[in-house]
């Protein structure tokens, strides 16, 4: 099976066929592999899995839209506005996942035994997606706030800390773009990610610490486990969490691959330029 996958790989993707050939060694590939289960050969399998995740995410979001807009009943108090329940909390949830993953992978990079540029790329991909989802959280929350609270924006602790998260991680993404050696950049970014993460728990617990306009998470009681939402609404909510999480996985995996490809383009671009110059000089000599 492994043989066939290798042939299809070299057959279908010419860019990757040069992988086994003379390629300049890079720190990334020389680094210890955390998922070292024949990664080079498993690539097509990973591709298939990724496409499957993407398809599931698409279907999940589509079904969520259908259930959320047509099937579920309007709320007793909020009426049709309750339908925002199927996107806003799950987007905010993905935002926390993004920053959590960025934090953990930055830690993993700084920890000497797991140091690998993979984790730097993962942190970069995850926080980039995180900034997008923070923006979406703010926008959907704002749209929900206008009819229910009567205002697009209020200086509520949760809203304010979320807006701060947005700016903090924009700053982090700028730090990532400071030029330098890959290792140096990665270490600098990892530290910046740890510093920026300080706001995340503050943001999460702000609804519990301060009495404010935004309600505390009220899907289920954390102590008694009693749920406050039933039937089709509960299922739709659950589905929205699952499908937005799949969207997250898909986006981060795509972004990660983009990092890898950009790095390879850098490496091979240099090799190609060298080869061209050599060819020129040999022509001149001949």
């Amino acid at each position: 099976m492994s043989l066939t996958t290798t042939t299809t790989e070299s057959g279908t993707t010419p860019a990757r066929a040069g992988r086994t050939g003379g390629e300049p060694p890079s720190t990334e590939r020389a680094a210890p592999k955390p998922h070292a289960s024949g990664r080079g050969r498993a690539r097509p399998l990973a591709d298939v899995a990724l496409s499957a995740v993407g398809a599931c995410a698409l279907v999940g979001v589509a079904v969520t839209v259908w259930l959320g807009l047509w099937v579920t009943p309007p709320d007793r108090f909020m009426g049709n506005l309750v339908r925002l329940l199927y996107i806003h909390p799950s987007i905010a949830w993905v935002m926390y996942i993004c920053y959590g993953v960025a934090f953990l992978s930055s830690l993993a990079f700084l920890w000497p035994r797991t140091r690998s540029l993979r984790f730097d790329k993962l942190a970069g991909a995850s926080s980039e997606v995180g900034v997008v989802f923070t923006g979406l959280t703010l926008v959907t929350g704002s749209i929900w706030g206008r009819p229910t609270w009567g205002t697009w924006w209020t200086w509520d602790p949760l809203l304010t800390t979320t807006a701060l998260l947005f700016v903090l991680y924009l700053g982090y993404l700028t730090v990532r773009r400071i030029p330098g050696e890959p290792e140096v950049c990665a270490r600098r970014s990892a530290i910046a990610a740890l510093v920026a993460f300080v706001d995340v728990p503050i943001c999460y617990f702000s609804v519990l610490w301060w009495r404010s306009l935004h309600q505390a998470p009220s899907i289920a009681d954390p102590v008694t486990g009693k749920t406050y939402i039933h039937g089709s609404m509960a299922w739709t909510l659950l589905l929205s969490f699952v499908s937005f999480t799949l969207v997250y996985v898909w986006l981060v995996a795509r972004r990660y691959r983009l990092f890898v490809l950009a790095e390879r383009e850098d490496d091979e671009g240099l090799a190609q330029a060298l080869a061209e110059r050599r060819a020129e000089s040999s022509q001149v000599r001949a």
Partner: protein, 225 residues
Amino acid sequence: MWRDALLVAGKDLRIEARSKVAIGQVVPFALVVVLLFGLALGPAVGRGSVLSQAAPGLFWVAVLLATVLAVQRSFAIEALDGASDGLRLSGLDPAGIFVGKAAALGSQLLVLEVVLTGAVALLYDRHLAGGLLLAGSCVAATAGLVAVGTIYGVVSSGARQRETLLPLLFFPMVAPILLAATKSWDAALAGTPGRGIGWLDVLAVFAVAYLAMGTVAFGPLLEDA
């Protein structure tokens, strides 16, 4: 570490004593900001005017703006004449360098805050009360500000766009400090210092957290800058 910190702080303060940039440019800048707030929020003076009510917040925003300039200055002196290489090769403890630079910055900022307090009291017509809480929150807030400023100062000193990068990184990070310091000053000036004690605790927690973070992270950051 403490000996190294004293050395670095002494060096920074000696440079300041000779070049007089903080006292000659940063303090006047902060005063200009205070005047501009006065123009922007109306000339009406007296108890209950907008200016007088907003005085604590305006004071701290002016301090924040001045801090960015002071941090930039603090790392500009390291960028000249290969000073940063000298610092790295000196064998001083990085934690000591961090504490020293932060302490030098902090002592300059405390002077600036004293001057600004006078200006705010005078120009915004706000009677100063609760002196102990005012001073306490100044010290705690300044410790947090200089810790964040020194961390990000060294991060951005390697960047080509350092002038614009530092404020972007610095301001969101110190937003909690701005909030807590304003609340604590508000309580002190309103004559109800009891309400401000909790915010003073928040300031102290942030100061300790940021200082601890800087002491640990400064070594690798300095190496890379």
